[in-house]
Symmetry: C2
Subunit: 215 residues, 2 copies
DNA sequence: TAGATTGTTAATCGATTAACAATC
DNA sequence: TAGATTGTTAATCGATTAACAATC
């Protein structure tokens, strides 16, 4: 229906709005103005209003925004009005950590399967979910309506496994491998490059030290 | 010395340059032009040259960039020409996963200590490093020249623990707690909001589905 | 020298902020 | 009605891209 392209910057801020609204909701706050929210979130009120108006007019002049309503609406925008079946590929430390995190389940991301290249892990269960062999992967995606694959495997295997996921009809990949996957446009990739993040921290520390020396 | 402020966008791209240059180095590539690198990285050559020239002229007209030299120089910019002592606070699944990841060590981030609020974990070791009690934290930072703290604890405790870290004189916090820490300006915070990242993936999947329906 | 490719200036594009009329 | 605050247009700011002279 609507065709207006929403900018990457706006999309990147949506989850943060959702998070703050969720907290306000927990605190029992009923309504909030863009101005008050801007102080909490440390962004401009103008940006908040601009961002939200990409998706519709959720507020009311003279009143502000109803917290519960806005929270629900942003939830819908983020696709949280339904569940998403996910699998984790790579049952190493990180894969297991993510598998054990129940917060995702609460948001509707249901862990349906675990996979690992190591055949010795076959049958081991995490939260009752058995680790499967990679050769079952493609069929499993198809038969269990899997939407998202979490990739927690070494980069050496990532491109190859991603190929299998695409063949299986995966819609999105949450990529923790230390590489940028190049895949067809209809497959969404969201990468979490932990090392990159740590290096950015390192840069910021180093450069702030230099500032201190010079002032 | 230099005062020119480097934009956040540029800084955010540095680790990625470093990653690609490292791969080229491994492949034995000696030199590369901004144009060839731009094809590999799927950015414009113009952006690469602009970004790098924030830090100095690393290339040579008619030749391009020497891979090894550029890799080393970006490494220095990122603060990788020296080691950084780190601690992990929160020895849950994620904390343990990060503790077990040896890649960070290779980049010079040395794990010196582990801490957890759960006293029953005291003395348990990971890679030979014992888990300590929180009441040792402040002194440990001071006496062991700890620069970075990795925060893998629930958000309910994050703000409080961050306060202790600041008192101990920490320079940077790699924050995995599901909250935005508000700390003095001289303490660098780099947050990895995994849930936010997953929600962004969810949004992108949902919106691409809508596109498909309408085309 | 001729060709290649940088470093850098200028042009464009997009995102953020400011301002204010609309309206609850 | 008066006050508050949105939704939205306009102004500003910053980041990206294009272009090209400098130079290896």
């Amino acid at each position: 229906m609507e065709d207006r392209e929403i900018s990457r910057a706006v999309i990147g801020r949506l989850p943060r709005y959702y998070r703050y609204l969720g907290e306000l909701l927990d605190e029992g706050v009923e309504r909030i103005s863009s101005s008050d929210l801007s102080k909490k979130m440390r962004v401009t009120a103008s940006q908040i209003r601009q961002d939200l108006n990409n998706f519709g007019g959720f507020g009311q002049q003279g009143y502000g925004y109803n917290v519960k309503y806005l929270y629900t609406e942003i939830g819908k925008i983020l696709g949280l009005d339904r569940t998403h079946n996910i699998i984790i590929i790579g049952a190493g430390n990180l894969g297991q950590a993510l598998a054990n995190y129940v917060g995702f389940e609460k948001s509707g991301f249901i862990l349906k399967g675990l996979f690992d290249v190591n055949p010795r892990l076959e049958g081991v269960t995490i939260r009752g979910i058995p680790i499967r062999r990679m050769d079952e992967l493609k069929a499993f995606i198809r038969h269990n309506d899997i939407e998202i694959a979490v990739l927690t495997i070494p980069k050496s295997k990532a491109e190859e496994v991603a190929g299998v996921l695409v063949e299986g009809g995966i819609q999105g990949i949450w990529n923790f491998a230390h590489t940028d996957l190049v895949l067809p446009d209809n497959v969404i990739v969201e990468s979490v490059h932990l090392s990159d993040s740590l290096l950015e921290l390192s840069y910021n520390i180093s450069s702030s030290e230099k500032d201190t020396e010079n002032n």
